[in-house]
Symmetry: C2
Subunit: 259 residues, 2 copies
């Protein structure tokens, strides 16, 4: 067992053919045995959605002799993790990595992100998990610049094990490898999207909307992921799925709810 290669599950939300997941597969192949289960189409901003009112399809897309076994799935990123763990993998993976996302999942974006929700789902199932995102929405983003960092963070996670109930949200600045200053453990910056809906008319005269908006960072702290990324660092935020605001329970117990 000691010399067994680690089993690594890979997924994403940009779809199985995205360059970001291809780069992640290339890196993880150098560390362990890799199984890919990823959406058959883009599933960005799906949050922690799961498919309960519809059927799910799973297609093996790799060939028999390929070094990596790959499946595409008709569902969401979270569906992919659930199907992988329950229907495909013979043992619990040693690591689940999600991404590399084309675009930022820093700060409040963690909550909308399919990439991060897949990692969180793995975490809920007791699998050490990391979501990786590059601050470049371009389909042809240069993932090569960050490959060595991705490998270092994955290896360190395999060795040190994550604290219980925690997964990692890793975001990379859009910089050349030599210009990246290092890796910082951060907290999630307090921020939000200020929406500006783009209202249009269909050719038939009916109003419709496109969601668009502007990211507003309300947080001046120098210990946040936004600060790290703006200053040339890779941000690593430990993310938990116990959403309880424990520090507010005492205050809420003073409310008059049982009078």
């Amino acid at each position: 067992m000691k010399n067994q290669k680690p089993l690594i599950l890979i997924t994403n939300d940009d779809g199985v053919s995205a360059p970001g997941i291809r780069a992640l597969i290339d890196t993880m192949k150098t560390i362990g045995e890799v199984i890919v289960v990823a959406p058959d189409k883009p599933q960005s901003a799906m949050g922690h959605a799961i498919t309960i009112n519809n059927t799910l399809y799973l297609n093996k897309i790799s060939k028999e002799n390929d070094t990596v076994t790959e499946y595409s799935c008709s569902g969401t990123p979270v569906d992919c993790v659930k199907l992988a763990v329950n229907e495909i993998l013979k043992r619990k993976p040693d690591l689940c990595v999600s991404g590399i996302n084309h675009g930022s999942n820093s700060s409040i974006n963690v909550i909308y992100s399919g990439t991060m929700s897949a990692a969180v789902e793995a975490g809920i199932e007791g699998i050490p998990a990391i979501g990786f995102s590059l601050l470049d929405y371009d389909w042809n983003a240069d993932f090569q610049q960050i490959q060595s960092f991705v490998k270092k963070i994955a290896l360190e996670t395999l060795e040190k094990k994550l604290p219980k109930g925690v997964v990692l949200n890793v975001n990379f600045p859009k910089l050349k490898e030599k210009d990246i200053k290092g890796i910082k453990i951060c907290r999630q910056a307090k921020a939000l999207w200020v929406e500006k809906f783009d209202k249009r008319k269909t050719p038939f005269g009916k109003d419709y909307y496109w969601l668009s908006g502007e990211f507003v960072n309300q947080d001046k702290g120098e210990d946040t992921d936004e600060w790290a990324l703006e200053n040339g660092y890779i941000s690593v935020v430990p993310v938990q799925f116990d959403l309880t605001a424990h520090h507010t329970i005492q205050e809420l117990n003073t409310w008059n709810l049982n009078g």
Copy 2:
């Protein structure tokens, strides 16, 4: 201003015609001015999904003389909140209530729930928010038994204001009003779904899956939402959207990431 009725935004994930939201509207009408913006179809288990690769439609479904203004929306519960705040409401609402969900959103369900994600989105936008759920999946569930509690919690939230960065996740046991023992402030129980995919064949011979599973409570604590509900109490969990596991930052700083 002092005598102005509170403005209350109502949404849900079961769709605008669900009995649960109808019950919530009836109760909130007795407290304030009500605007409804809810999905035009069921959107359960959508988590914090938003619609970014598709268009959104908004239809006013109430008549001019109705006491409550209602819109249906083609998007997710989170889309509904974003559209309401940015395109419909003239001022920031004093309260956003989501539900009443047909079925539990206790424990880890909070993370998959469209009902709770709508409340969380309102919270991110600085609006006091509550998600309500009844532990009865039946379309004809008896919401009348919990109306007085819904009103009490909403009034107390309007009066006391929520702690910053927190929304409330309220779950009701399926009991008669007289048998409900009271309201308990709780933490989210540690639990997960153990999946059992139901594998079938299409009429054309292709495999497909239905996601199903069993809820497993791993938490024996008597301060959890699961304990409260099993023992006849209404559970109220303060939920935060800063997902940072602050208590693990020190440990992660001992990792060898910049060597």
